[in-house]
Symmetry: C4
Subunit: 245 residues, 4 copies
């Protein structure tokens, strides 16, 4: 049994067949490991870490790299076409996630590991949610054209808002509305209704202009969201009808 | 009549049958009492209360606890299976809501009473809105998978936004964007468009990054809302069709 | 012709028949007059008005009151049942809008004129949009139950958010999160994503709590909007189908 | 071939037939030129530009004007009715975009070039998205009446919110809530949930009033967005049905 587990066929199942029990366990373990490595990566950015804490993080780092390396070698070993895997998108990311540790470069390339987050998307496969994902893709296809049209109009809207507010506010608040580029930041945070409050018009003209910008702009920024939602519910309804038949 | 009212059967109707007139009155009284106790609980958190005001609140507290105790004993008395009630979820909450007062513990366990807010949901039963609630449940079931997918993607989005802004802003605003965890707070308030204004990017790179974060992120955070709305209207339409048939 | 115009029947048409040309003109004039009186009322709140400007505003005020008085007397004159009009809702408002001027009371009752804004809604009748309004009413009826359920849940959500943030932030920011009532203001501005930035959590616990509040709360606050929108489009579709038949 | 390219017929195809290859190239070049001229126009608003950078921008300006002039002359040359083009909307804009440079007026009329952004909308034609645009127009037609009704109600809502908050806050914050007009700015940023944080109520009455304003107002401002989204998905569905038949 132990021997069989180490056979290439068996290892292939382990790595690639997320329907089998051990395949699921393997995939889940890798995902937990990715999350662990990202948490440890995030903790390292905390200021005021003690030397002890830093050493703990270093040990976790070593453990993560060793396990990632084992996984990488395993994936090469079981691959039907090894070169194809090595030069594939995921193969490159898997390598880049561990390489920096070995070559001890001055550059901190661990950021590459963020791409390993893509492996997290495998979670949908584990939970057999591929159908929901397919539905998403179809919904996005349905509204693709509308999204493009809205995208272009939203960009023009952003630009015109920035130019307008620049003319109204530049004279009074030259520090904040320094240029059209600075005003673009205001246009972005206003039209998305984030409204940090770091920049806002104080002239009467600027305030009235903002009124019109919001009147037209809210719709332009918010409609695409509604479009996706209705498209998604539409694809679900159509699917249900097919199932009924 | 008065005697009959005190019979166990009659009391059972009082406590559990919210379709009868006295059952409705009983349920409404309990709900008003819960709201009253929460208002008095909230007032107590006000600073600068006079001694007189505090004593009034104490009297209300005593009255509330006595009435809650009577209700608790009544519920035990009329229960078909008394132990089952005592150890049920609601039974435990009902007890915990009054116990702290009697055992005069140092700990203020009155917060437990917040759970009694759940009894407020009974209001839907009183107004015969159980149908609307069932529709909600069905609608949530319909979009369960989509919500999960969006939930995971939103978490990844939040994390990536935090990492990105950390790299752009940490050097310039080390006090605010101290670590990835601190940046997560920025990502949360920005993607939900709350925008308190306690943290915002000031570098050109950070602002352009925010542009892309909002471009992608707004949809991810806002689409689920639209999904629930369309699912709800769908279940209502289907129900109406059944009624027509 | 001039004489005929002053006949009671003709005046009735003028005041009440917004389908006739002169009726439309009369209604539009009254609406313009209401808007004018509100603008003048708003201008009066401006500080630093010169004596000259104040006197101009006073003249406008006199003109408005005279015209409103003529309108009021006209409405009484043409009413089929005069007492019914005088004691009707609109009749009372029409009187209260002019009375303060005549009795020169110390109290400024001109705020009552805000109710005259209701007459502005007549504009929908002028543009024959009563159908759209009826559709609105039907749509609101469709989602009445859902709105009530969401309303109650939103209130509970608001309250629980306030209690939670009070426990997390009161110790660190006692000035801002003074009591549960003060925290309710934070809960309101956060759940509606207004986010003024006057109050926000600074403790780690408070920030994580805010994350969960927004996770659940955004949906609760935003879903009703989506419900009304889908209900409106549904009623429109149904109407179109009837028209086709 | 070279000669043929210069024939009037051939030039007409170049300028107006965006289905032909060279027509597409011409249209795209003009659009890129417009974007370039706008970027250079935006850069000029940056403070602290060096003399060298200013001279570069001046060279770009000259190049842009020359190319725009060539385009303008070309459009006149190929026009079937030359006067009709010159006095058409686009003809006027095309002229105004270059004229200021030649007549060297004191006034900076280059802002007129913003209108040339309208030419950018031609991009939808290039990508054969006219169908999506037509769908938009039909969707807007569908909800025209609802939008008007909501528009009027939203204006009344804004005004009433401003009046209300003025009464609550003017006494306590006379600097911020100076008049109803100043309060309108607060009403706008609050109802659209932008919430800059430059103005917010601090009295208990003002905060409770804000609660009710948001309760009613959020729906009024947000529903139109949902309306457009559902109307758009409806027109798409209807179109699909026609295609199926």
């Amino acid at each position: 049994m132990n021997l069989k587990m180490l056979s290439k066929q068996s290892l292939y199942t382990l790595v690639h067949d997320s329907d089998s029990t051990k395949g699921r366990l393997f995939a889940l373990s890798i995902q937990l490991l990715i999350i662990l490595s990202l948490i440890s990566f995030s903790i390292e950015t905390l200021p005021d870490l003690s030397a002890l804490q830093r050493s703990y993080l270093h040990y976790i780092e070593i453990a993560v790299v060793i396990l990632f390396s084992v996984e990488y070698l395993l994936r090469i070993y079981v691959a039907k076409n090894r070169l194809a895997y090595i030069f594939s998108f995921y193969g490159t990311i898997d390598l880049l996630a561990i390489l920096p540790f070995y070559i001890a470069s001055g550059l901190d390339l661990r950021t590459v590991r963020l791409f390993r987050l893509l492996r997290l998307l495998q979670i949908f496969k584990l939970f057999k949610y591929s159908k929901a994902l397919q539905r998403f893709q179809r919904a996005f296809n349905l509204v693709k054209e509308e999204m493009f049209v809205f995208g272009v109009i939203a960009m023009i809207m952003l630009y015109l808002s920035a130019v307008g507010i620049y003319y109204f506010e530049n004279a009074v608040q030259p520090e904040l509305f320094q240029s059209i580029f600075h005003s673009l930041w205001w246009a972005l945070t206003t039209l998305t209704t984030v409204g940090y409050g770091d920049m806002f018009p104080i002239t009467v003209g600027g305030k009235i202009f903002t009124f019109f910008v919001l009147l037209v702009g809210l719709g332009i920024v918010a409609v695409p969201t509604g479009l996706i939602a209705t498209a998604l519910s539409q694809t679900r309804t159509e699917e249900d009808k097919k199932v009924e038949k």
